[in-house]
Amino acid sequence: MTASSLIAFALVFLASSALISLLLGVGLRYGERRLRALGARAEQRAATLTLVGPPVLALMLVGLLAAESATSLLAGTDHCEAHSHHLHLCLVHGAAWATRPWAVALLAVVACFVAVRFLQILWAHVDAQRAAWHFRRMGESFPEANRCVSLPLDEPLVFTAGAVSPTVVISRGAWERLNSNERRAVIEHELAHVANGDLWRRALLAIFACFAAPGLASFALRLWDRSAERICDRKAADAVGRPTIVAGAIVALARCMSRTGAPAGAVFAAACSITDRVHSLLNAEPDGARGTAQLSRWFLGLGSGLALACAAFSEQIHHLLETILG
C-alpha cells in the first residue's frame, strides 16, 4: 500500500461525503416545511440521517473502490493488469493526482480541521461531565427525582449537563419562581433529555458533522437541537397531563431570565425560539412517530437498493469510478 493510495482514498472519502451531504442537506432544507408537518421526531430523524448518512455512504463507496484491489492483493495477483484501457485508483498504485502538492495540502488541512474539531468537542464534553459530577457533589439531591440536584443560586437556571452520566440542575432561583405543576414540568422536560440520551447523541452528531458540507452541517444540527427541545416538551406535557403547564413554565422562566440576566450561551434551546415551542405545545403538533417510521422505511429502502445495485454491478461500478477518479 502506498502513501498516494491512502491520500487518494481519504480524499475520495471526504469529497464523496461532502457531495452526498450536499444532496441530503438540500433535500432537508427544501423538505423542512413537510418535515415540520410530520412532527418533531421526524425532523430529528431526518437531521440525524443527513449527518450520519454521508460519511457512512462515503465509506461504502471507498470500500467498493478498494475491495477489488484488496482481494487481488490477498490472492497475490496484479489486479491492475485489468486496467490497461484506463487510468486507475487502487491500493497498490494509488493515483497519479494524489501525489500532487494540492492533494497532500488539502488532505492535511482537512485532517487538521477534523482532529481539532474532534478534540474540541471531546474536551468540551469532558469538562461538562466533570462539572456535572461537581454539581452533584455540591447540590442537594431531590429524593423523588433521581439525577436531579438543586443548587443554591439566585439565577433562574434549569439545565442538564454530562454526556456520560447526566445531572439535571435546578437553581433555587428557578425553583422559587415556579409553581408545583411547573416545577414538575421542567423536571420532566430535563429527564426526557436524559432518557433520550440527547447529550451523547448530540456529541456524536457534532463529530459526524465534520464530514458534512460546510453550512449544511450547522443547519442540520440546529434542526436537531430544535426538534430535541420540542420532543422533550411533548414528553413533559404527557407526563404532567396538560401542555399549558409546560408552556407556562417556559414563559415564566423566560421572563425571569430576561429580568435577572442569567448566563446565556451554548445550549440546545438556543436553536429553538420560545414562541415556536409554545405554539408547538398549544397546537398539539404531531409527535412525528409515524413520520419517523416513514422516513426510516424510505432510507432503508434506498440503502438496500443501492447495496443490491452495487453488489450486482460491482465490477462495472468499480471500473466506472476508477475511470472518473483515476
Binding site: Q120, I121, W123, A124, H125, D127, A128, A131, H134, F135, M138, L151, P152, L153, E155, L157, V158, F159, T160, A161, A163, V186, H189, E190, H193, D198, L199, R202, A203, A206, L221, C232, R242, P243, T244, A247, G248, A249, I250, V251, L253, A254, R255, M257, S258, G261, A262, P263, A264, G265, A266, V267, F268, A269, A270, S273, I274, T275, V278, L282
Partner: protein
Amino acid sequence: MWTLDQSAKVLGTLEEKVMDALWKRSPMAVRDVCKLLRGDHELAYTTVMTTLDRLFKKGLLLRHKDGIAFVYEPALSKDEYRCRVLQRTISDLMTKKADADPVLAAFVDAAATVDEANLDRLADLIAERRRHGK
C-alpha cells in the same frame, strides 16, 4: 497574585480540609490548623503552612500577624464560596464552550428571552387555552 475569581475552582483535597477547618473555627495560626488536621493524617507543619499561604494567595483566606506568627481566617463564608464556584462553573460551561457545541440542554435559553411584549402575548395565549380547559 491570584484573584478570588481564579481561585473559584475545585480545591485540592488538603486545601479543602484546611478551608473546612477554618470555616469551623477561625482565626487560627498554622500550629492550630496542624493540630486540628493531625487527627486524619500525619501532616508536616511546613505542608500546612504552604497550603495556607497558597489559599491566602488565591484570595480565599485573610491573614494578619499575631505576635510573630500569622493567623488565618476565611475571606468568605462556605455558602458564598460554594455559590462562587458554582456560578463560575456554569458561566464557563455556557459561554466558553459556545465556540464548540452545546454541551448543556437548558430548559430555556437566556439569550432568546429579551422581548417582554412577546412573552406577554404568549402568556395571554396560554391563559386563553387554560380557560378553554386545555
